[in-house]
Symmetry: C2
Subunit: 152 residues, 2 copies
């Protein structure tokens, strides 16, 4: 029997443009399917984190080299963008782009799924999401629009 594969030993290491398959789910998985990317996006979207130092303080304890790598990859995908802090030349301010903010429904469904099937914390957030998903998403989008609406 014949097995059709899209990846025939042809994918260079950091080449974002060559995918294993054209499936949209695979595209998402290739960009977000690891143990840290979505947590970084969570901290930006829900906790308002903006700097490298803040991301290092996440509950889960990310390693510094992994954080640097993920920030660079997320930026290369256009999910986040970095600008220098005008008031402190050492700092970079990381923001979610429109593409990044559009991940809010994905995060929401993942939170609701885990909360429904596992013992998890942060029940206030879960209740808020469950009570009115659309209202919650509107709130996220509005907070982003009000102080992050520069570009992209």
């Amino acid at each position: 029997m014949q097995v059709t594969c899209y990846n025939k030993k042809s994918v260079p290491k950091h080449n974002n443009s060559v995918r294993r398959s054209p499936c949209p789910l695979n595209a998402s998985v290739e960009m977000l399917g690891d143990r840290w990317s979505l947590l970084i996006i969570r901290d930006m979207m829900l906790r308002g984190f903006r700097t490298y130092k803040q991301f290092m303080e996440c509950y889960e304890g990310i390693a510094t080299n992994i954080l640097a790598d993920r920030l660079q990859k997320l930026a290369s995908y256009g999910i986040i963008a970095a600008v220098p802090d005008p008031s402190d030349g050492r700092k970079l301010i990381y923001r979610l782009t429109k593409k990044g903010i559009d991940l809010a429904p994905v995060l929401t469904e993942m939170v609701l799924w885990a909360a429904a099937h596992e013992h998890t914390g942060n029940q206030e957030l879960v209740k808020l999401m469950r009570a009115d998903k659309e209202k919650f998403l509107a709130g996220v989008r509005q907070r982003w629009a009000s102080h992050d609406s520069q570009r992209s």
Copy 2:
């Protein structure tokens, strides 16, 4: 400055019960945050794949040891379940559990996000999802209920 972490070098290798943090998103990421788990679930949910051999034929070309590992992990999480095929003793039939089918909204949002922001294929599926998300989800649930409704 003080950094609070939940994981202090204490997580044994395959221990599903110890999480890096109580955050529900982290729970989802620990179960699904890799490059293959969601693709296997996609093939079960959307393409009706049921056997090891079928999963091996996925577009993206999964390695056999990785497939075996992911099937075992997904089963240990209660996302899928395996039963022997009554008509062929060599085969195992893998099914999504209720918990697995409840991932449909997560998959849907990931597909819609990628389709909105990347060049991807399978536009028929995307159009169907976009046209009426709830109707699409109802269809998935019903197909599952009609021939997979055993347990869990």
